[in-house]
């Protein structure tokens, strides 16, 4: 395997509140190679989004984080403010589930796309706009020049998600964190957005951490998968979708209805915390 870009080693996050301490990430370890896509799959509350927040150091201060998160040799958990700012703005790019929640409705698409590079990297606005137009065209936005003067509410969800992808690519990061980027979209828009993300990532040799609850989608877009349950990765590798080994993964795959055959009843997941603890004790 080629050189690792991001490596998490035994990352733990404990949430301290006045009365109790809750351990929400229990030793997460994985790594993403340069140019590789890893799918982080799990249900709500399994800790997928928490993991991305740990990677970007955006966890609430009430969390106590331990372990190591290494990005291209640098330890993220011990970065100082300037280094951290640099890491967040230049090395990683983020795409979220709800693009509308991440754009300012009173600014145009053009302002949104150019602000960061003009203000923080001192590039000329015209130059950035030209690059934005080229990128918008690449991610399949028609009439890109006109889009720059439009406001977010004038664009559909699928279109806005493409603008988000363009804005991330514009900053030329090395790692893209995509947290459920297609969950709010319907199937055709999902297929479309994932195809664009996949194509752009490969063309630029970017790494991708793709967070989703959809194992099938992750399998189609990533080289390796990691399945999370209760703040732990229960299984990871390239085999997960075709030949899952962990009981949780097997049950999760079986519970999804199939488009080819109709079952009398869908199997309901039997896997729970007790079985989880028992399995861990046995291992």
């Amino acid at each position: 395997m080629s050189e690792a870009l991001l490596t998490l080693t035994d990352v733990r996050a404990v949430l301290h509140s006045r009365h109790q301490s809750q351990s929400l990430l229990n030793g997460v370890s994985f790594s993403i190679a340069k140019g590789e896509a890893l799918g982080l799959v799990g249900e709500s509350g399994s800790g997928k989004s928490l993991t991305t927040r740990a990677v970007t150091r955006m966890l609430d201060p009430a969390f106590e984080v331990s372990g190591s998160i290494s990005f291209d040799g640098a330890e993220v958990l011990s970065m100082g403010p300037a280094e951290l700012r640099n890491y967040r703005s230049r090395d990683i790019g983020m795409i979220f589930q709800d693009p509308r929640a991440h754009v300012n409705p009173v600014h145009t698409v053009g302002d949104f796309l150019t602000e960061e590079l003009v203000r923080n990297r001192g590039l000329a606005r015209e130059e950035v706009e030209q690059r934005a137009i080229t990128l918008l065209d690449e991610v399949g936005v028609r009439y890109p020049e006109r889009r720059l003067t439009q406001y977010p509410h004038e664009l559909s969800g699928g279109m806005l998600q493409r603008v988000m992808i363009a804005s991330v690519l514009l900053a030329e990061p090395r790692l893209i964190l995509a947290d459920e980027p297609t969950t709010a979209l319907d199937v055709t828009a999902q297929s479309d957005v994932m195809a664009i993300l996949d194509e752009q990532r490969r063309a630029r040799g970017l790494s991708l951490l793709f967070i989703t609850h959809d194992l099938e989608l992750a399998a189609a877009c990533c080289e390796r998968l990691a399945v999370m349950y209760a703040g732990e990765i229960v299984e990871q590798g390239a085999h997960v979708y075709e030949s899952p080994r962990h009981p949780y993964t097997i049950e999760l795959l079986g519970a999804r209805p199939s488009i080819d055959q109709r079952l009398e009843r869908l199997p309901v997941l039997q896997y729970n915390r007790d079985i989880h603890e028992q399995l861990k004790a046995e291992a």
């Binding site: 664009i196 999804r256 199939s258 109709r262």
Partner: protein, 276 residues
């Protein structure tokens, strides 16, 4: 099963007026849509966002007015508004609605038991007393898998799946002929989704009820529905037996929807550039 249709839509049409102050055309959300829903069956309406599937459902429950065509439930015309309070109640008793988002469709200040009892006291036959209402609410909550521990809880104390069970229980409390399920499982986790889909089939095994199931997820549609209609830009472009349509999609739009569903060997594909 009787062969008389419960719900009949004929050349249904809905036009929203152009937004004020904009130089845009009126929006034709639903255009020439016809379908029938029979007793004790599940009909799915499938399509992308903006295809008009929710507008059809909203017209059925009276949340939108009908611009053209006709819509009837049990032979009674629903084009014009209901007559008076009693009429509205009777209509609501026939068709109940379960919304996509169980976080915003339940009153946060109403306990779970009260939510069901409120629906019961509006719709239950006769004039049941307090104790009877409470008993009946308990039975209904039991039937959706929520035990007595839930009666005194509030929506914020429940998970997404449990809330959706409450929403289904509230619909059942009216003893409706039709339940409209508008993307009712779309926001749920895979494991919870399986439970709710099983619950929906259990309910139909116990009592006679029809579902109008609105979804863009073809795998889910395949699991629950016998027939489906496919909508694109306000029109019905394809209709038929669900299993057959999905096994051999002929219409190009149905094919493209079918092709967008992830599965073994699937790869995402880019469609042509979008104009809007």
């Amino acid at each position: 099963m009787s062969t008389e249709a419960l719900v009949v839509a004929q050349n249904l049409r809905k036009v929203f007026p152009a937004p004020k102050g904009m130089k845009s055309e009126p929006i034709v959300a639903v255009d020439d849509v016809s379908f029938e829903l029979f007793p004790n069956e599940c009909l799915a309406i499938v399509g992308e966002s903006g295809s008009g599937k929710t507008t059809v459902a909203r017209m059925l429950v009276g949340l939108e007015t009908v611009t053209g065509g006709s819509l009837s439930v049990r032979g009674e015309d629903r084009n014009k508004g209901a007559r008076g309070l009693a009429g509205r109640r009777r209509w609501a008793r026939e068709v109940q609605y379960v919304f996509q988002d169980p976080y915003s469709s339940l009153n946060p200040r109403q306990g779970i038991g009260d939510i069901i009892q409120a629906s019961l006291s509006l719709h239950a036959p006769g004039n049941p007393g307090k104790r009877e209402l409470k008993l009946k609410a308990g039975e209904i909550l039991d039937s959706v898998g929520l035990g007595s521990a839930f009666h005194r809880k509030f929506p914020h104390q429940l998970s997404g799946g449990q809330r959706q069970r409450v929403a289904i229980a509230r619909a059942l409390a009216a003893d409706p002929a039709v339940i409209v399920l508008d993307e009712a499982v779309a926001a749920l986790d895979v494991s919870i989704q399986a439970q709710i889909l099983n619950l929906l089939s259990d309910i139909r095994a116990r009592r006679e009820v029809s579902y109008l199931f609105i979804s863009h997820d073809l795998a889910v549609v395949n699991q629950v529905s016998e027939r489906m209609i496919v909508m694109e830009q306000g029109r019905v472009v394809d209709a038929g037996n669900t299993a057959e349509l999905l096994a051999n999609p002929v219409h190009p739009y149905t094919r493209s929807l079918r092709a967008a569903v992830p599965g073994p060997g699937w790869k995402p594909v880019r469609r042509e550039r979008l104009a809007s």
